[in-house]
């Protein structure tokens, strides 16, 4: 699910770039130094996940993972997705450089929303955390499909038609990502619960340099 070069009107591409830049700025502002390795690892997974193709009839779709990136990184997801998509467009020829802003927005906003949703739902038990992870993981891809339809609608496409098509094509991806997110998040919950999300409640104390 990538928008190619030259599909969107110039104004929309520029606006999407501006929004992505703002999102990355927000990421850089809120990111904490201790979290950098985590962000790097999640970015790497996001970057490589697009190589995992699921066969779907004559074509295939690949994993997108905006939901789990948002759930794990919170506001830093924009930075992660921006870097990941930039490298994908350079190395894998996915999308294109002029559409990079739109693509990053298409993945970044669902990631942010899923991150917020995950933290609202997660509670304290492992079961709730797992379910919240599954919902966030599946919803991320669904929202990305809807954003794709919205962006393409600015280029003159039929919004409902594209949205239906993109959602239908990504049903297997949504299911697989929900499963992967549930598994990953329950595993992290068991092994290192402090890795789950930005520690907003205790974060300010941890933000001071320990001297």
């Amino acid at each position: 699910m990538h928008i190619s070069d030259g599909v969107l009107p110039t104004a929309v591409s520029v606006a999407a770039y501006a929004l992505t830049a703002a999102g990355i700025g927000l990421s850089l502002k809120t990111i904490r130094q201790d979290d950098l390795p985590k962000v790097a690892v999640v970015t790497s997974s996001f970057f490589v996940a697009s190589l995992i193709h699921l066969p779907l009839g004559p074509t295939s779709v690949h994993l997108l993972m905006p939901g789990i990136v948002g759930a794990l990184l919170g506001p830093a997801a924009f930075l992660s997705i921006g870097i990941g998509l930039f490298l994908q467009s350079i190395l894998f020829q996915y999308g294109g450089l002029t559409a990079l802003g739109a693509n990053a927005m298409m993945m970044g906003l669902p990631a942010l929303l899923c991150g917020l949703l995950f933290h609202a739902l997660r509670g304290t038990s492992q079961l709730r955390c797992t379910v919240a992870g599954a919902i966030a993981g599946g919803l991320g891809t669904a929202l990305a499909a809807i954003f794709l339809a919205g962006l393409l609608a600015t280029g003159g496409e039929d919004f409902i038609g594209v949205a239906k098509l993109a959602l239908a094509a990504h049903i297997p991806v949504i299911l697989v990502e929900a499963a992967i997110s549930a598994f990953t998040i329950s595993f992290i919950y068991r092994v290192r619960p402090e890795l789950l999300g930005p520690r907003r409640l205790q974060g300010r104390a941890g933000n001071q340099p320990r001297s």
Partner: protein
């Protein structure tokens, strides 16, 4: 040095031999052409006499056959080329590892800058 000297010596000899061969072969060939021309002319005359329409039709049929065969082969080739180009464009392990390297590098730079900023702050 010895080999290059030998090479320079052999080149004119080879050229000479080629020239001689060309001279020798050109005369009989032209003779054969002149001899063949009248023979070919008589051949077409006899073909015309036997039935021009049938012959033309046969030739046309064969040409159409060859044309369709070639078209089919061209299509197959085109399909092969398309499949190959798709395969070439597909990202592989190398690109994936390169990307991972870039990501680690970028976050290394961010961490480096953050650590420098943090180190400077207490001094101020």
């Amino acid at each position: 040095m010895a080999s290059s000297g030998k090479f320079i010596g052999t080149v004119p000899a080879a050229v000479l031999i080629a020239l001689i061969l060309a001279l020798l072969s050109s005369t009989p060939a032209s003779a054969a052409e002149t001899a063949a021309e009248p023979a070919g002319a008589t051949g077409t005359e006899t073909a015309v006499a036997s039935g021009p329409a049938d012959d033309c039709r046969a030739v046309l049929l064969r040409m159409a056959e060859q044309d369709s065969k070639l078209t089919r082969e061209m299509q197959m080739l085109r399909r092969d080329i398309a499949a190959l180009s798709q395969k070439v464009e597909e990202p592989g392990l190398q690109q994936a590892i390169a990307g991972l390297g870039y990501i680690l590098g970028i976050f290394g730079i961010i961490a480096f800058m953050a650590s420098r900023r943090q180190r400077r702050q207490p001094e101020k």
